[in-house]
Amino acid sequence: MSEEVAKTNRAWVLDFGKGLRAAVGHHEMWQVLISPKLFDVPCTPFHCGEVLIFQNRILPVLSVSRLFEREKTRQSQVVGIAIYQDDPAHPIHYGGLHLAVMPQSIYVSDDQACDLPESQECWEPLAVSCFSHEGLAIPIIDLASLFSGN
């Protein structure tokens, strides 16, 4: 029993719309905001041109669907506040993610690991691993890479 628990981790499945789904660790999603006030910032990338004010910080709000689809789609009013670190020795950072729906909390075990399908190769630069969930391959993404701007 204890061995099974050790191999199981909690995660959030994030639905970015347009069929784009990915997972992050349970500790990497801080809060979800519904209809936060967003401010646009000029001269910014197509997928990250908005910020919000959260606990006296100005956070970038990133659209994964715009990053991959390059289309100006209407964004939902759900924004997840993610936490990430560039390096374990560096302070944590916060960033907003446009989500199509509320994140789904799940348990993931090692035996769900799978390869990233070719149909989802867009995730390759960001995916650290992948698992099978409800018949779908869900990449686990590195938020620090996503927010690095590289």
């Binding site: 401010f39 646009d40 910032v41 000029p42 041109g49 100005i58 970038p60 927010f147």
Partner: protein, 148 residues
């Protein structure tokens, strides 16, 4: 007599709902638009200002920092930014001097993910319930020179 540099002093440029701060010591002067000789040369400028012994191009910006070819109603001032070659004007709806230290304003660096090659914006800050941008005068001049 040398000028005293105060890093907390900024000039706020407001145009089309956009709030943009530039360090005060990078601003040459604030002028009125009536002194601009309007032109329609299709070069990005809306006119030229003769002052301080130089001819200075004057630009009009939209909310997204794109160049406008016509001046929207209500813009009465322009800020003349210092530059090595020639000063450069930016037309505004409002202009205000702001001391960041006195107003307890704390700019934050523009997040890496929001940076682009030609962006003049280096920091963001919350001011009057808006998210304002902070630029160096030099970066804004360079940006306008590229856009032009």
């Amino acid at each position: 007599m040398s000028e005293i540099h105060n890093p907390h002093l900024y000039v706020l440029l407001v145009f089309d709902g956009r709030y943009l701060f530039v360090p005060q010591d990078e601003v040459l002067s604030i002028e009125i638009i009536a002194d601009v000789l309007m032109t329609d040369d299709g070069m990005g400028t809306i006119g030229w200002f003769s002052g301080h012994g130089l001819e200075s191009p004057v630009f009009c910006l939209a909310n997204d920092l794109s160049l406008l070819s016509k001046v929207p109603f209500g813009r009465e001032y322009f800020v003349l930014l210092k530059d090595e070659e020639q000063p450069l004007g930016v037309i505004c709806d409002e202009v205000e001097n702001v001391n960041f230290k006195q107003e307890h304003l704390h700019p934050q660096d523009l997040p890496d993910v929001m940076k682009t090659q030609n962006s003049p914006i280096r920091q963001l800050l919350v001011y009057q319930d808006q998210v304002a941008c902070v630029c160096s005068g030099m970066a804004l001049v360079r940006y306008l020179s590229i856009e032009e």
